[in-house]
C-alpha cells in the first residue's frame, strides 16, 4: 500500500445528455506506484483523457464521476469540492496537456506563470520563487535561463514550450503527473526528447506518471506498464513487455499489429476491421465483440471485466483469458 501513489477503483464517468446518459469511463481500476510510468493507450474517445481529467477533478460539466473512488497516496480525492481540489492540483498532481502552443497563457511571461504556480503551492517569497523557476527551467533544458525567464510564450518553439509546461507541472514536486498526450502536437524529432526528459525527471524524483497517449511507440519507450482502453472500458493491463510482445486481448493484438515500427518482419500491416462504437451505441457484452475474430456467445452477452483487485497485475478483459481457455 505504502508506495501506491494513485489508486483508482471502479471509476465511472458519466455525461448526461438530452439523449440519455453516456458512460465515457466505465468501471476502470488502476494503480500507479511511486516512480512508475503507466501508459494509457486507446483510440480517440476511448476514455483515456477523460480518466485523466477525472483524476485532476477537471471534468467539464455536465460530466461527472458517477461511481468509484480515486485515492492519492491513500487520501480520497474524488469527492473533494473544487476549492479543496485547488490544493491538490498543481501541488500533489501535476498536469501536462497536449498542445503546448495553447497551454500557456499568451499574455503572461513564462517566468510569471512559473512563479505564480510556485508561490501558490509553496511558502517561497517572490525572489526565492524566481530562483526556483530558473532552476526548473534549467532542469527541463531551457538554455540561457536568465534571459528566457522574461520571455513570453510566443517567443519559444513548440518543444521549448512543452518543456516549460513540464517545468510548470513539476513546480511543487507533485506525487503524480497526469500527462495527456504530451507529445502528440510536437514534431517527431522533438517527441523523443520530450518523452526522454519526462522519463528522466520523474525517475529522479520518484514521481508517478499517468501517460495518456495513442502512440504505442511512446509507450514502448517510456512506460513501465500499460493500460489499454476501448470504448470507455479497460481492455488490458500489464507490463509493457507483456502487452507489447504478448498481448492477451484481441484488441491489443490488433493495435500492436497495426504499428509499422514494432513489426519489421511483417510485410503488410494488419488492421482491425470496423471502428470503435460510439458511446451511445456500445453493444451488449464485450464492447469489442463485433470486431473480434474470436467472439463467442458469451462475449455477446456478458461484459468481461478486470477485477479491481487485479488492477496492479497483468490481465485482459477478455473471456478467453478470464476463463483460462487461451487460444
Amino acid at each position: 500500500m505504502s508506495d501506491i501513489v494513485l489508486d483508482v477503483r471502479n471509476l465511472r464517468v458519466e455525461f448526461p445528455t438530452r439523449k440519455g446518459v453516456l458512460t465515457a469511463v466505465d468501471d476502470i481500476s488502476l494503480q500507479i506506484r511511486r516512480g512508475e510510468i503507466l501508459g494509457m493507450v486507446g483510440e480517440s474517445g476511448a476514455g483515456k483523457s477523460m480518466t485523466g481529467m477525472a483524476i485532476l477533478g477537471l471534468l467539464e460539466p455536465p460530466g461527472r464521476i458517477a461511481a468509484g473512488t480515486i485515492r492519492l497516496s491513500g487520501d480520497r480525492i474524488d469527492d473533494l469540492d473544487d476549492r479543496a481540489m485547488q490544493h491538490i492540483r498543481g501541488r500533489r498532481i501535476g498536469a501536462i496537456f497536449q498542445d503546448p502552443l495553447t497551454s500557456l497563457n499568451p499574455l503572461f511571461r513564462v517566468g510569471d506563470q512559473l512563479v505564480e504556480t510556485i508561490r501558490l503551492h509553496t511558502d517561497l517569497d517572490p525572489s526565492q520563487a524566481r530562483e526556483r523557476a530558473k532552476t526548473l527551467m534549467h532542469e527541463v533544458g531551457i538554455p540561457a535561463v536568465d534571459e528566457r525567464i522574461d520571455n513570453y510564450p510566443h517567443q519559444f518553439s513548440g518543444g521549448m514550450r512543452q518543456r516549460i509546461v513540464i517545468a510548470l507541472a513539476l513546480c511543487a514536486e507533485p506525487e503524480l503527473i497526469v500527462a495527456d498526450e504530451p507529445t502528440t502536437a510536437l514534431d517527431v524529432s522533438i517527441q523523443a526528447q520530450i518523452t526522454a526528459l519526462l522519463k528522466r525527471l520523474c525517475r529522479e524524483r520518484g514521481t508517478a506518471v499517468m501517460l495518456v497517449t495513442h502512440d504505442m511507440g511512446v509507450i514502448a519507450e517510456t512506460a513501465d506498464r500499460v493500460a489499454v482502453m476501448y470504448a470507455g472500458r479497460l481492455a488490458e493491463v500489464g507490463t509493457v513487455d507483456n502487452v507489447v510482445r504478448r498481448p492477451k486481448h484481441p484488441y491489443t493484438e490488433g493495435l500492436m499489429g497495426s504499428i509499422p515500427s514494432l513489426r519489421h518482419d511483417v510485410e503488410e500491416l494488419q488492421m482491425i476491421p470496423g471502428s470503435m462504437p460510439r458511446l451511445d451505441a456500445i453493444p451488449p457484452g464485450c464492447a469489442f465483440n463485433p470486431r473480434c475474430a474470436h467472439a463467442g456467445p458469451k462475449c455477446r452477452r456478458e461484459v468481461p471485466r478486470i477485477a479491481a483487485a487485479d488492477a496492479g497485475a497483468g490481465t485482459a478483459a477478455c473471456w478467453r483469458t478470464l476463463e483460462g481457455e487461451t487460444a
Binding site: Q86, H87, G90, A95, F97, L107, E147, N151, Y152, L168
Partner: protein, 330 residues
C-alpha cells in the same frame, strides 16, 4: 516600434488632411463667407476689400493650404455669430465635454467589465439572466430618455442632484474643471450616467461574449490544472485575454461619446462643445461648425492611433521588438 509609430502617425496625418478638405469645402462653398460677415449696409467696395483681405480671390489650392496651415496652429477664423475667435470658444467649451466623456468612459469600464465577467462566469444564474435582460433595456433606451428620467427622478422628485449646468468650476490655466468643487462633481453625476448607460451595456455584453470564448481556452484549463484558484483564473488569466476588443471598443466609442454628448449636453444644458455645435447649426455659424468637425475628427483619429499603440502594450505578440526570439534589449 519607432517605425510602427511613424507609420501610424503618417496614416493619421493623411486622414486629417482629408477631413480638413471636407471642412474647407463646407467653409468655402456653403454660402458666401463675405455675405455672412458683412452687414447689410456694406458697399460693393467694402465687400471686394474684405474678399481680398480674406484671400478668397486666391487659387483654391492656395486657400486650402492656408486653411490647413491655420488649422494646425489652432486658428479656425472668427465666429460669424459672436465675432469671437473660434478657438477661444472651443477652448471654453472643450473641458466641459471632455470631463463628461471621461467620467462616462470610466463608468462604462468600471461597471461594464465586472458585470460582463459576472454574467459570463455565472451564466445560468438568476442574477446573470436579470443583468442580461437589463442590458437589452440599456441598449435600446435612447440616451435622452435616460437623461430625462434621471432628471425627473433624482433632481425633480428627490432633489438630490442638480439636473442642469456644470456647477462651479475652477480654472487651471485655460482649462476649467468641475472636478474640484462639490457642486461641479455633483453636476457631473447625472449627465455622465445618462451618457454611459449605452456604453455600460455594450462593454458588458462584449466582455461576456469574450469571456465565454476565453474560458474554453486550453490555457484556462491548464491554469486550473496548475491549481490556480478559480477567481484568479477568471479575473486575471481570462479577463486579460478579453481586454483587447474592449480597448478597441472603448477607443472607438469615446469618439461616439463625444458625438452622443451632443444629445446629453442638450438635455442637461451642459455647456460643452455639443451645445456650441447645436447653436452654431442654428445660426449657420460655418467657422464653428468647421472647427467642430476638425476637432472631433482629430480626437477620433488620435484615439484610433492610441488604440493601436495600446494593443502592442497589452499583447506582447504584437510588439515588434519582442518578435525576435530571445531579444532581450527591449
Amino acid at each position: 516600434m519607432i517605425a510602427f509609430l511613424l507609420k501610424r502617425a503618417t496614416n493619421a496625418a493623411f486622414v486629417m488632411l482629408a477631413v480638413a478638405l471636407l471642412a474647407f469645402v463646407i467653409f468655402r462653398f456653403f454660402g458666401d463667407p463675405v455675405e455672412m460677415m458683412v452687414n447689410e449696409q456694406a458697399t460693393q467696395a467694402d465687400r471686394a476689400e474684405l474678399r481680398e483681405r480674406l484671400g478668397l480671390n486666391d487659387g483654391l489650392i492656395t486657400q486650402y493650404g492656408r486653411f490647413v496651415t491655420h488649422a494646425v496652429q489652432g486658428d479656425f477664423g472668427i465666429s460669424y455669430r459672436n465675432q469671437q475667435d473660434v478657438m477661444v470658444l472651443i477652448k471654453e467649451r472643450f473641458p466641459a465635454t471632455f470631463e463628461l466623456v471621461l467620467v462616462a468612459t470610466v463608468i462604462s469600464l468600471v461597471v461594464g467589465i465586472p458585470l460582463g465577467v459576472i454574467t459570463a462566469v455565472y451564466r445560468n444564474s438568476r442574477l446573470a439572466n436579470a443583468l442580461q435582460l437589463g442590458s437589452i433595456v440599456g441598449v435600446s433606451l435612447p440616451s435622452f430618455v435616460v437623461g430625462i428620467l434621471l432628471i425627473l427622478g433624482f433632481s425633480v422628485t428627490l432633489g438630490w442632484l442638480p439636473g442642469f449646468g456644470r456647477g462651479e468650476t475652477v480654472d487651471i490655466g485655460w482649462w476649467s474643471t468641475g472636478f474640484l468643487t462639490p457642486s461641479g462633481r455633483a453636476a457631473l453625476i447625472l449627465p455622465s450616467i445618462s451618457l454611459s448607460t449605452f456604453q455600460v451595456t455594450l462593454v458588458m455584453r462584449l466582455v461576456r461574449a469574450e469571456m465565454l470564448e476565453t474560458l474554453r481556452a486550453d490555457y484556462i484549463k491548464f491554469a486550473r490544472a496548475r491549481g490556480v484558484p478559480t477567481a484568479r483564473v477568471q479575473w486575471r488569466h481570462a479577463l486579460r485575454n478579453c481586454l483587447m476588443p474592449v480597448i478597441t471598443l472603448t477607443g472607438m466609442q469615446i469618439g461616439n461619446l463625444i458625438a452622443f454628448a451632443l444629445v446629453t449636453e442638450t438635455v442637461f444644458q451642459w455647456p460643452g462643445m455639443g451645445m456650441l455645435f447645436i447653436q452654431a447649426v442654428t445660426f449657420v455659424d460655418i467657422p464653428v461648425m468647421a472647427a467642430y468637425l476638425m476637432i472631433v475628427s482629430f480626437i477620433f483619429v488620435a484615439l484610433n492611433t492610441l488604440v493601436d499603440i495600446t494593443y502592442a502594450w497589452v499583447d506582447p505578440r504584437l510588439r515588434d521588438d519582442t518578435a525576435r526570439t530571445g531579444g532581450g534589449n527591449g
